[in-house]
Amino acid sequence: MMQPVSSLSRSAGTAGLAEADASSTLARLRGVEKQFRRGAEAVQVLRGLDLDLRRGEFLALMGPSGSGKSTLLNLLAGLDRPSAGSVEVAGQRIDQLSAGALARWRARHVGLIFQFYNLLPVLSAAKNVELPLLLAPLSRAQRKAQVATAMALVELEHRAKHLPRQLSGGEQQRVGIARAIVTDPTLILADEPTGDLDRKTGDGILDLMQALNAEHGKTIVMVTHDPHAAARATRILHMVDGQLSTEMDA
């Protein structure tokens, strides 16, 4: 069996927005609004959104394109700030952090998985995975060890020295996943992780993500438009008119 990367305990996922045990809440969003300027107009994407994210959840966010799912993900990742409201992750009000502090926070607490993998083409798979570790005070040997563990977990040790252009789409995404988990982050955020893959490869990725959640207790939020992918999650929420709901718009 695969080595656990952390000693976090598993937790059973619960559905819905109902009040839950505070200590098991990983992230709390209250009254979050987000506006964008498109030309001269201001477009309101998120309208007073509330969310409680439980530790150990595998949450799927669904909704049509342009509904603001990615925007919400970006807020959770600390890649963007809300126009109004609060974003609290692991007890930290990240909407109040400075840019520099946010970067540091992100390095420690967040792992990101992208639709188009976003690997650095000039670095080998292993070096791509090592990238976030450069921001941590680890020795060369320690970094090497953690990379090896992550690569083993995604079953790509044999491709460690390959460049992204030498890997298939599925393999590239695995590298992306390895990069996302190598720092043992608090939260994993995935934006359409299977969007560019065929059904079979996508399934393999989803298997991996499910395993990370079920066996290693990683909290995952996944944005997707594919119900098939969403079905793997422990909870599904829909983005409707800038707010979250358990049901899809009829």
């Binding site: 970006n74 990742a77 890649l79 963007d80 840019a99 520099g100 970067a103 540091r104 926070w105 992100r106 390095a107 420690r108 967040v110 990101l112 992208f114 188009f116 976003n118 690997l119 650095l120 083409p121 000039v122 670095l123 070096k127 090592e130 990238l131 976030p132 450069l134 921001l135 060369r140 990069r179």
Partner: protein, 384 residues
């Protein structure tokens, strides 16, 4: 991988463009090496001038002669340690194209006046023994493959010898070396007493005096006192420091220093534009990657440092290589085949070269680095 490794990895993109940029940096610093050597060659006399040495020449021009009697009178002026005569012989060795500076001098006094000319005691003794003896600097001896004991015939142009004809024959009794790299080792020195005795006319007159003073700080005073001494004589004098004289000589050749500096400035500006453009293009192409770095947690400051580090690495390696090769090529010697008396890479300009390398790295990367720093992560990722 380390941060440095991450910086270096950027160069794996577009290897060709990187190579071309690096080569243009190498070329720029090769040019730098040649230009500073040229500038130094034209500055030669000024830098080696002794602080406590001065020249006393005829006030109208150095071409006019001065009486030999002045030597004792100058030495009586307070502050003067010693005075020794020099003249311009202006002879030809085999071909007018072979330019050799020939001076009849008083051996002991001259060598004491110019301690940077190093002559072995045996050779000095030989010179004192041999009336027709001459010593030459290492550079000239090597150029014409002269050895101790050779007989060197010099064709006189102005100073015909008694007894007819135009040839003066000297015996090479010594070869002197310079104490510093800049020391002039191209002089041909023979004995004043032999010259005085053997020339057809102009007895009792010499070209100018080299003098040594006790205290360099009082040079202006001493100069004034000397010139005052002879102001009403048929041959009035003008006394100036060796450095001033060399400088005015250099000025007469032309403001080569300014020309070289102007060219260097132009070259630096051009290379800055070329490298800056390459860096800017690199950043533009890597927008998405920079977004990833920021998403992963690199701060704005770290991204700035990364891009700046790349440009400094490029400039440092290529520029350093260019300086090193430039140094090597320049030390091969004078490319004008003898026109320049000295030709070497001045160490002080090496410092300048390194400063320019750093400046290039810094300024070519600055704007692109700032651009990278300011990229909004979310936008940058979307651009992928």
């Amino acid at each position: 991988m380390t941060r440095l490794g991450l910086m270096a990895s950027a160069f794996r993109r577009h290897r060709l463009r990187l190579l071309l940029t690096a080569m243009s940096i190498v070329v720029a610093f090769l040019l730098f090496s040649y230009l500073v050597a040229i500038r130094k060659a034209f500055q030669m006399g000024v830098d080696v001038a002794g602080a406590d040495r001065m020249m006393v020449r005829h006030s109208v021009s150095i071409i006019q002669s001065l009486p030999t009697s002045y030597e004792a009178e100058i030495e009586r002026v307070p502050g003067v340690v010693d005075a020794t005569p020099l003249s311009w012989f202006g002879g030809i060795y085999q071909d007018p194209k072979n330019f050799i500076a020939q001076f009849p001098v008083k051996p002991e006094e001259y060598l004491a006046m110019y301690p940077e000319f190093r002559l072995s005691p045996e050779q000095k003794a030989a010179w004192l023994r041999t009336r027709t003896g001459a010593i030459v600097g290492r550079t000239i001896a090597d150029k014409y493959h002269w050895k101790i004991g050779d007989r060197i015939p010099i064709q006189a142009t102005v100073w015909r010898p008694k007894g007819g004809g135009a040839t003066w024959e000297f015996e090479l009794v010594g070869i002197y070396d310079g104490a510093e790299k800049e020391t002039d080792t191209t002089q041909f020195l023979f004995r004043q007493d032999f010259f005085e005795e053997n020339k057809q006319f102009g007895q009792g007159r010499i070209g100018w005096y080299a003098i040594r003073i006790k205290d360099p700080a009082r040079a202006a005073e001493v100069a004034k006192a000397i010139d005052q001494q002879f102001v009403n004589s048929p041959a009035a004098t003008k006394t100036e420091t060796e450095g001033a004289m060399a400088q005015s000589f250099a000025d007469q050749v032309g403001n080569i220093g300014a020309i070289v500096t102007a060219i260097l400035g132009a070259v630096f500006f051009i290379i800055l534009v070329v490298v800056g453009n390459t860096m800017a293009q690199g950043v533009r192409e890597r927008t998405q990657e920079i977004g990833v770095l920021k998403a992963v947690g690199f701060t704005n400051g770290e991204v700035l440092a990364l891009v700046l580090g790349e440009s400094m690495l490029l400039a440092g390696v290529a520029g350093g290589f260019g300086l090193a090769v430039g140094w090597l090529l320049v030390s091969q010697g004078d490319p004008t085949n003898g026109f320049l008396p000295i030709f070497f890479f001045p160490p002080e300009d090496l410092v300048l070269g390194i400063a320019l390398v750093l400046g290039l790295g810094l300024f070519s990367g600055l704007l692109p680095a700032l651009q990278a720093m300011r990229l909004r992560t979310v936008d940058a990722l979307r651009r992928g």
